[in-house]
């Protein structure tokens, strides 16, 4: 199964490229996640996904499989396993950065393979969950990039607020402070954007993980549900 998502960040492509590959720095932007280890091109972490009656925790690892600095294209392979169940998921995520006006457009293609179980929901979670995760992630990264760190060129500090400001504003205190550009260590208690902050469910784990892994895991939960519904029907 293939998922396609796009978001934009208010920074030139080179700056956005450097930031998005700085896993410890962008990790706090993905909700429900904890980065347990990060070593250059590989990482491990967990992500907790909570939505309605569903509450799942996945543990997984990933690595940067390909990296093309000239074309601004990166391929990440990640896999995860449910901590309290038999479900697994593997994902290959390809992100390509393209200049877009003053900012950068990020195209993300996720190829998912999921094993898991059915559920009974009227609406497939796939698109909703992945879109929400990525929206939150994009808003957080955009917020990180907006204060224009050292290497910034002509980034307009206000650029992008119209599209993402409303979401960022709900992130709660500390969300932006994790954006210190020189961050080298994974914060134990990062304060990333809470995926469900805007929706009023505030009891979620608020930790960090490489966005790719978390995105994959979030999407895989959705994919699991979607697949299960199909299996349900077949029985």
């Amino acid at each position: 199964m293939e998922l396609t998502n796009t978001f934009t960040v208010p920074a030139p492509v080179d700056e956005a490229w450097a930031r998005l590959l700085d896993l410890p720095a962008v990790a706090p932007c993905l909700p429900g996640a904890t980065l347990t280890d990060s070593d250059g091109d590989s990482f491990t972490g967990t992500v907790k996904v909570k939505l309605g009656p569903i509450s799942l925790t996945y543990k997984g690892s990933g690595r940067i499989a390909e990296r093309d600095d000239a074309a601004h294209r990166v391929v990440v392979e990640a896999s995860g396993r449910e901590t309290r169940g038999p479900g697994t998921a593997t994902a290959t995520i390809t992100a390509t950065l393209v200049p877009d006006g003053d900012g950068t457009r990020v195209d993300v293609v996720t190829d998912l393979t999921v094993t898991g179980r059915p559920a009974q929901f009227g609406r497939s979670m796939l698109a909703d969950v992945s879109a929400r995760l990525l929206d939150q992630f994009a808003a957080c990264v955009a917020d990180q990039l907006r204060p224009a760190p050292a290497a910034a060129t002509t980034t307009d500090p206000g650029h992008g607020t119209d599209t993402v400001g409303a979401v960022v504003a709900d992130a709660g205190p500390g969300a932006a402070s994790t954006a210190a550009p020189a961050t080298q260590h994974v914060p134990d208690e990062a304060a990333p954007i809470d995926l469900f902050e805007v929706t009023g469910a505030r009891q979620l784990v608020r930790r960090a993980i490489p966005y790719v892994a978390a995105f994959a895991v979030g999407a895989l939960v959705a994919a699991a549900v979607a697949r299960l519904r199909r299996r349900d029907r077949a029985t």
Binding site: S55, R117, Q120, F121, G122, D128, A201
Partner: protein, 283 residues
Amino acid sequence: MIPVGFDYVRPSTVEDAVAVLAADPDAKVIAGGQSLLPVLRLRLAAPTTLVDLRDVESLHGVRVAGDELVIGAMTTHDEILHDQRVAEHAPLLAAATATVGDRQVRHLGTFGGSLSHADPAGDLPAAACALAATMVAVGPNGRREIAADDFFVDYLTTTMAPDEILVEVRVGDTAGWGFRYEKFNRMAQAWAIVSVAALVRRAGGGVTDTRVALGNMARRPVRARAVEQAFTGTGGDIGAVTAAAGHADEGTDPPSDVNGAADYRAHLSRVLTRRALVAAVGA
């Protein structure tokens, strides 16, 4: 298909139930269990404690208060279906409830549980929006009332906090209004691919009020405001119905899935809205 172990409590008051939820963020309310139990059995969730509300007497039953119908959150679909006051004062709700699941589901599933689950493809969230229902929730900080339009926030997400419980739903009197619940699905007892709940009030030959809510056309049930605006004030003739129904998908964000693509749903919403308005207005 066996759930992860959990504790089970069956309080007899809302306050006791709220106290359990407030003390344990991993506790979970269970009403009729028609959505939660499968999730537990599939191990898509592993709450520490289930708080069963069936013994809370105040949450059961239907009563009339002033010009409103007050429906306890634990009232089952079947009870609503066979309640004379619902049939009289909120026939749209009865019509929508009749399409929920199958007979067994309707005997166990509850009105409040279905609303709290907030599946945008569910029948009752859309009906509640069209009825402009008021949700009453109780939490550690007391009681609050929430308009249906504000209650549903996102996919499977309401504005209620995890330690709040939906206790009752207040529905204004729509006796005398024309009504119709249109649900489109591929199989009996399936979820709606798209659904339309419509209420139309006529007076002196003209349409004086219109309420239309759509199911599964966004991440939450939505009112079709453009349709309501276009139809209210007209003579309610077939031309007006067709013109108004053409606005049904305005401002919606329908999903694409195995049951249909977004543009298919957009088209379907216009077709179903037309059918619903025709039936509701008696054109």
